[in-house]
Structures are given as structure tokens and as C-alpha cells.
Amino acid sequence: MQRLAFLLISAASLAALSFHTIDAEASTETDLYFGEAIFYANQGEYFDAISRLDTELGQYYGLDDPGLDSLHLLIGNAQFSVGDFELYYRMHQRAGRAIKSVIEGNVKPAVRNKAIYRLAKILLQKNQPVNALHAIEKIEGELPDEILDDIAYIKAVIFMVNGRPTDAIEILSGLQSSDTHGGYAAYNLGIALLQLNKDAEGIAQLAKAGTSSGSDEGAKSIRDKSNLALGYKLLESGDPELAKKYLYRVRLDGAFSNRALLGAGWAEIALDRYDRALVPWTMLSKRNVTDRAVQEVKLGVPFAYGKLRLHGKSAILYGKALESYDTELTKLDGSIKSIHDGKFLQALAREELKLDSNWVIKLRDLPEAPETHYLMHLMASHDFQESLQNYFDLEEMRKRLLAWERNINAYQELVNIRREYYKPLLPVVEKQFQLLDSRMRLRIEQRDNLENKLQSMLIAPRPQFLATVSERIYGDHVTKLEKRVKHLSKDNEQRQRVDRLRGVLNWKIFTQYHDRLTQAFKRLRELDGVVADLKEIYRSFVRTRQAATQSYEGYDATLNTLNIKVLEAQERIKNAMLAQGHMLESMAVNELDIRRKRIEGDQVKARFALAESYDRAQKKQIDDEFKAAVEESVERARKAAEQAAKELEETALKEAAKEKSGKQEATREEVKK
């Protein structure tokens, strides 16, 4: 029962945990690339999500000052999300490391607790219950509201798988009213109580879970599961009357219906009500024969008829069961051959099938594909699902790598075309650029000299420096005149005229000095604007020249390296796909082989039972014939005896009459005499 309980917990737990969706609704207010990663993750495209977020994180860590990047405020969340996406992409090792780094980092308690919850979930999925327990026990402080119940539920599950049902019961009792986990908690609470050997309480709890409210498929499924578990538990503990009650509660169209009908039949058998057992079993026997319960009931129905002493009917049904087993064995052999021929993997790889939610069942409709109904249980198992998903992921990566290989080849050609175009052009452009560059540098130097002069004039005024061209020309003329009148006396009219000319000139230069200086600075600022434009054009030219060079330089090595990496990855994927495919095929073949052996076992049982029923039917027939013969003989004897008696009586009567008439005659004779 311990093992039974454990498996039930695991199945239910996985189902409950699978309800979660991406909750990386981080604030994307400030980082578009992080938002883009979430966009892909929300669509289940985890490869793209991880790739984009990885690229963004790589760029962030490569920055000189990451504090200025838009991702800085969200870095904790981004690290956590990348781990989360990796978890969904089944990269448990890397996801575990990423999440651990968040736990150990300087983050808020709510974020850390969320990370611990994720880590515990990974460890539980990886079948490391003790490590999961150690992880979950580290949760302390503020808990994120949106996963409060999730944390409590996973904690309870971890306690249960670690053999601590008492702790689990405490948590599960508190989760009974949870909208998301109420149903699973009620069910697991029952199982935990049974684990503690509190059978009465466990049965009562499972009964409660079996009548819980809710009209969605999840709630219905939990009810069926609880009733089924309870029914079998009661059958096992020898209470078929009560077991029957719960088994009949399981929906007839649910996933647990076949097992419930089978159990209900056995409950009736245990109560010696063979005719009643035929009701669920006959219904079950008409269902899909690939189901194990249906195959089993093929023996159950004739068994019940046998118990009702209808040996002939029983023998006929055993015969039909044998025919059915033969058909199934042929089907299984065909399926095994189909898998060996690689048809199973070919069918699995077909994309269009996956658009249908029942794609696994649809596989069987494909030509030469195996009978997938036999593989339904296998396909629902965690290991097979992981292996199958890995196969799909490998196939998806293979396709990506093929596309990348084509792209890289195209990029190499693109780079070559650019090189051929730019290489002859650039030296000419470079020459012109150098010429313009030297002229530009000269002008900029002149401007700088001018500014230096103007700046020095602020400290030591030099009005002459700001004289206009005409003033300089006039000044030169006046200087020449001054030389010519230098020998004349100061009173000389000619000399006085020349001195006045000088005076007028100086007056103008000195009185307008400040205005001119202001004007000079104004013009210098105007010149700065022109120089700035010139510099911008210069920089733009430098960038364009650089872009032209960079459009083909430095790519060859990177492209070659990437090409090699792509080719290597393709080879590794090819090998991994072969191994993974082989493993899936082996799992499927082994599963079919197990089913085959079971049917063969049923076949042997059916043959023996058929022979026995036939014998009994025959014996009954002989008995009946003998009895009829004896009865006939007795009847004949009786009739003969009756006839003889009658004849004897008649003879006696006749003799009596004769005697009487003789006596009368004698009397008459005497009278006559």
C-alpha cells in the first residue's frame, strides 16, 4: 500500500504542478528585449526565449557601466526568468545553477523564496526528494502571493515522498479550501492518512474527496481517482459491499472507468453475485480490447457464466476471448515490426499530428504505424515523456542548425560581395579624405589661435588687433605720411593735418574696441557652429568609412568558427537523435513485449478455462442424457408394470367373471335339476 500511495501522490502532484504557467510577468516597462523573451516564453517557445534573454544578459555583463543599462533594475528578475525558461525547456542542470545563483544573490525575500520553490520543484521532478526537502525548508520570510498555495502544496508533497505524512497532513488540511489545489489536497490528505495507517480517517477523507464539488475536468478527475482508490482499498481490506458503492461512482466516460468497472465486477464476485458481476463486465468487455482491463475481463465474463453453471455459454466466451487474444497478438507483432522498421520514429516526427491534442492516438491511423493504444500508459510516464520531448527538441534544433548553416553560407557570400565592392573604392576615398582632413585640421588650428588671441585681449586690450582692413590701409597711409612730415615742426599745418588723421583713426579704433571685441566673440561663436557642423560631417564620414570597412572586415574568422560549431553540433545532434530514437524504440518494444507476454498468459488461462468449461458442459450433457435415459427406462418400466398390472387385473376380472358365470350356470343347472 505504501508503494501504491507513493505512486498516487506522484501522479497527482505532477498533474497539479503542471497547471502553472509562465509567471515571469516582470515589469518590462524599461527593457524591451526582456519583454521580447517573455513574449516567446508565453507562447511556449522556450528556445527563442532563452536565446534572446541570454544574448541580452551577455551584452549587459559586457558593459563598462551596466548600472546605466535598462536591464539593470530587472537583473534579478531576468536571471530568475532565464532559469525558469531553462526549467521549462528541460535544461534542469543549467536551470538549477541559475536559480541557485539567484538564491545566493542579494535579492528580496519574495524573489528568493520563489526561486527556492522552483528549485525544490526541479529536485522533486528529478526524483531527488531529500534534496527537495532541504531546499524547501530554506523558505523563510515574505512569500509571493501568487504562489502561496503552490509552495504549501509542493511542501506537502515533498513531506509525503520523504515519509513524513504527519507534516504533510497539517499542510494539506489547510489547503482544503484552495481554489487551485483544493481537490489534489483533499485526495492526498486521504492518502497521507492511509500512509499513517489511519484507515478509517483515510477512507472518510477519500470519500469526501470523491464527492467534492467542481464541474471542470480536473475536479471530475480527482473525484474519479478518489473513488477508484477507495474502492480498491476496500476490496483489498475485504469489504466488497462498500467497495462497490465507490467504484460505481466513477464516471463511465472518464479515464478511470475501465478499472472501476473491472473492480465493481470483482466486488460482485466476492459477494457471490455472479449475475450482477456480468453487468459491469459485459459493458467493459465491449470496450477497446487494447486496454488491459478489457483484456482481463474477457476471462472474467466466462468465469461468471461458469459460476452460474452456464458452462456452454462460458466455453463459447472463452473461445471468443482466445480469438480476441490471437488478433491482439498479431497486432502486437505487427507493431513491434513497425517499430523495428523505424516507422514509430517517423510517425513521431510528423509535425501535423501535434496540432491535434489526441495526436498520440492518431498515430495508429498512419500506415504501418504501431498500435499506439498499447503505448498510452508508457507515453504518459515521466521518463518516456522526457525522452520523447528530448527527441522533439533535438529534431527542432536539427532544423534550426540546417537553417543557420544556410544563413552562414549566405553571410560569407555577402561579406565577400561587400569586400569586392568596397576594397577598390576605399583607397581613393581614403586619399581624398586625408587631403580634406589636413585642410580641416589647419582651419581648426587657425580658429583656435584666433580664440587664444581674443581670450588674451580680455586681459590685455589690443585695439589695433581689431582694426578693420580699411583702417589698416588708412593706418599704413598715415604712417607713410607721418614719415614724410616727421622733419616738419609740430606747428606746421601739414604735420598737424597728418596728426589729426592719426587721431581720428585711433579714436575710431579705440572707442569702438569693446563693441568690436564683443562682435569678434560673437563671430567666433558663429564660427564654432560651422566648425561643429564640419566636425559632425567629419565624424559621419569617419563612421561611414568605418562602417564600410566593418561591413566586411573581421567576419571571416567568426563566420568560420560558427560554421564549424554548427557542423559539430549537427553531428552531435545526429548521434544523440539516433541514441534517443533507439531508446524510445526500445521502450516501446519492451512495453509491447510486456503486453504480449501478458496476453500470452491470458491465452494460456483461457485455454485451460475453455477446456474445463467444455468438460463441464459435456459432463453435464452426459449427465442429462443418462438421467433422461434412466427416466425413460423407469417410465417404460412403470408403463410396462402398469400395463402388466392392467392386464393382470383384466385377466383376474375375466376369470372372476368366468368363475361367476360358471357358478351361475351351475346354480341354474342345479335349479333345473
Partner: protein, 175 residues
């Protein structure tokens, strides 16, 4: 005989009930080993993907000419977005029709990079039109334009869309 058969069948039934114990148990170690190998391959392929993405960006969309347009929902959108059209300087550069999955992803905080291309530095006009259905079922369509100035750095433009009564139908943000 009856009792023995019942017990036997019950055992078989219980084994059915508790789940499959098939060949997968035999190859548990193999499954684990192969799974780890696949995880390693995933890690390497993701590395190639990131390297290639950076290279493509540098090769095809250099910073000085790169422009990217992102679409996001204000709040939960408040309407059903059917299609979006982006024009740059009067010319249509992209048109996108949304799937249910994409809409759900946008409603849950996702940001879609709808267009990446190259433009010259300087001023440009971006025009965004969308078509959808309002909450009450009527056609809901809007168009808005925005002037951008392309510099040396990559130009990132976020287009936030909202339903009727949820603020501006189209809001532009430069990043």
C-alpha cells in the same frame, strides 16, 4: 479455486492501477545519461544562437542605421488585436496578423519585436495602424504617426496599444 482466482485477478488489477513498471526502469541510467547529453547539446546550440544573433545584428543591422519597432499592450490590452501595419516614411515595412497565442503572450506582459530594419540618420516618420475588435464586438481600428530622429545609436521605438477607455489607443515611446 474461486477465492484464489479472485485474489490473483485483484493483484493483477492493482498492478494495473498503480501504473506501468515497464522497460523504462531497466534503462533508468541510460535515460539519465542521454538526458544530460541532450542538455549539453541544448546549451551549446543556445550559445551558437546567441553568437549568431549578435553577428547578424552587426552584419545586417549596424547600430548607425538600425531601427527596431516593438509592440506591447497597455495593461491587458482591453480588446482583441487582429492585425498591425507599420509604415516608415510612407512606405509599408511590415504587416502582421496575430494568432491567439501571440495575443495571449502580449496580454501577459510580452513585447513583440515587429520590425527591424535600416534607415539613414536624420528625421523620419513612423505610422502605425491596427485593426481589432473592441470588448463589445465592434470593429476597433486606429492609426497614429510619430516623428523620430535617427542618430548614431540603434533606434528602438515601442508602440503601446490600448483598448477603448484604456488611455491613448497608440502611444509611442523611444528607448
Amino acid at each position: 479455486m474461486n477465492r484464489i482466482l479472485l485474489v490473483f485477478v485483484l493483484i493483477v488489477s492493482m498492478s494495473l492501477f498503480v501504473g506501468r513498471v515497464s522497460a523504462q526502469e531497466v534503462s533508468k541510467a541510460q535515460i539519465k545519461g542521454l538526458d544530460e547529453q541532450v542538455q549539453e547539446i541544448k546549451k551549446d546550440v543556445l550559445g551558437i544562437s546567441s553568437e549568431l544573433a549578435l553577428l547578424e545584428e552587426k552584419l545586417l543591422y549596424p547600430s548607425n542605421t538600425q531601427i527596431s519597432v516593438f509592440v506591447s499592450f497597455a495593461d491587458k490590452g482591453g480588446f482583441r488585436l487582429d492585425a498591425m501595419d507599420i509604415k516608415l516614411d510612407g512606405q509599408e515595412v511590415t504587416h502582421h496578423v496575430y494568432t491567439a497565442n501571440e495575443l495571449e503572450a502580449l496580454r501577459n506582459g510580452g513585447v513583440q519585436r515587429i520590425y527591424t530594419g535600416n534607415i539613414r540618420t536624420g528625421d523620419h516618420k513612423i505610422e502605425v495602424s491596427f485593426l481589432g475588435k473592441s470588448l463589445i464586438g465592434g470593429v476597433y481600428q486606429k492609426t497614429a504617426s510619430y516623428k523620430i530622429s535617427k542618430g548614431v545609436k540603434p533606434k528602438l521605438v515601442e508602440v503601446k496599444v490600448a483598448g477603448q477607455g484604456f488611455g491613448d489607443a497608440i502611444e509611442f515611446k523611444e528607448r
